[in-house]
Symmetry: C2
Subunit: 188 residues, 2 copies
């Protein structure tokens, strides 16, 4: 989950909290002092500090009835260093369903009976559709043009276009003479 990351960025996504971090980078401060320096009431400072603390950026120690806050420089540097690492980047997309777009395109072009309502003209969408229809063919098997058309006709009447695009996008191979068709790899 990237919840922690969001908390981190949210904590710093405020002008007054950034000022606090800048001040605490110099020395420790009490709530009262920060309130005076930023011209805010103490409860507001408390609120901001709790957000910074939630992100692990600051911590407090009690001194009498003062709460003295300090910047967690170590934590800050550690976090900052890995912020835009590949690991971090990948973690943000962990719970993204990468097939959602393909499913949507397929749904948009599919009729209830599974046939295609049309053949998309946009490259990206056409690819999605082609990857779908190519699943009808078994890798390694040699098909005649007639057999190919028969299979494609289950999706759309314009079998010629589908067949041509399949070959054009490299999803289906064709013997130079045009007699034999086959696919090479197991589709995802």
């Amino acid at each position: 989950m990237n919840a922690e990351l969001v908390i981190f960025f949210k904590a710093l996504a405020d002008a007054n909290r950034l000022k606090m971090v800048g001040l605490l980078a110099q020395r420790d401060y009490s709530v009262e002092e920060l309130a005076a320096l930023l011209n805010l009431r103490p409860p507001t400072i408390s609120h901001h500090l709790s957000k910074l603390a939630e992100a692990g950026l600051v911590s407090a120690r009690a001194e009498g009835y003062y709460s003295i806050y300090q910047l967690n420089k170590a934590a800050l540097e550690t976090t900052a260093r890995g912020l835009f690492s590949n690991e971090q980047m990948n973690s943000t997309t962990e719970d993204v369903d990468l097939d959602a777009y393909d499913r949507k395109v397929l749904a948009d072009f599919s009729l209830p009976d599974g046939r295609l309502s049309g053949i998309p003209s946009q490259r990206r969408k056409l690819e999605v559709i082609l990857h779908h229809v190519v699943k009808s063919f078994k890798p390694g098997v040699i098909y005649s043009e007639k057999q190919v058309n028969q299979a494609l006709a289950r999706f759309h009447a314009d079998t010629a276009t589908l067949r041509r695009e399949l070959v054009g996008y490299g999803l289906m191979k064709r013997e130079t003479g045009g007699r034999a068709y086959w696919i090479e790899r197991v589709p995802g």
Copy 2:
């Protein structure tokens, strides 16, 4: 000003925008694709992308009626590198009035005529008051205890406490015998 920094952090302070950055780190995407992947409507994606663009994190190129967005990796790395540098830290506190706390303490303990309403018991506040009253003395001049008391009496009746604390905090020097008092440096 730290306005740019705030814009940067605000841009990343949202789970969906972080996901978008993560996706765009892999390859370019159109608005439509991002909308499908994140299960949001295209206008929402447009809104998010405009925030990311405002922060300089992404840019768009037109391809037909598509807007293909890409991550500005160079800008991202440059910004990320300097995020918590000393320069950046200091810049956030540029427009903070560092004397505001001292002024507040002084105001809290000052009567309309300039005398003190009391002597604070808190270290930090006492220091502020002492730094204020010590301005009555000229560096280099030798004062008798009587002269010191006279000057301090203009602030508060308890001259003994003020005198003792001034010496205790090192703001005023005293000859071992207790006869001569002076200050060494020009106070701020």
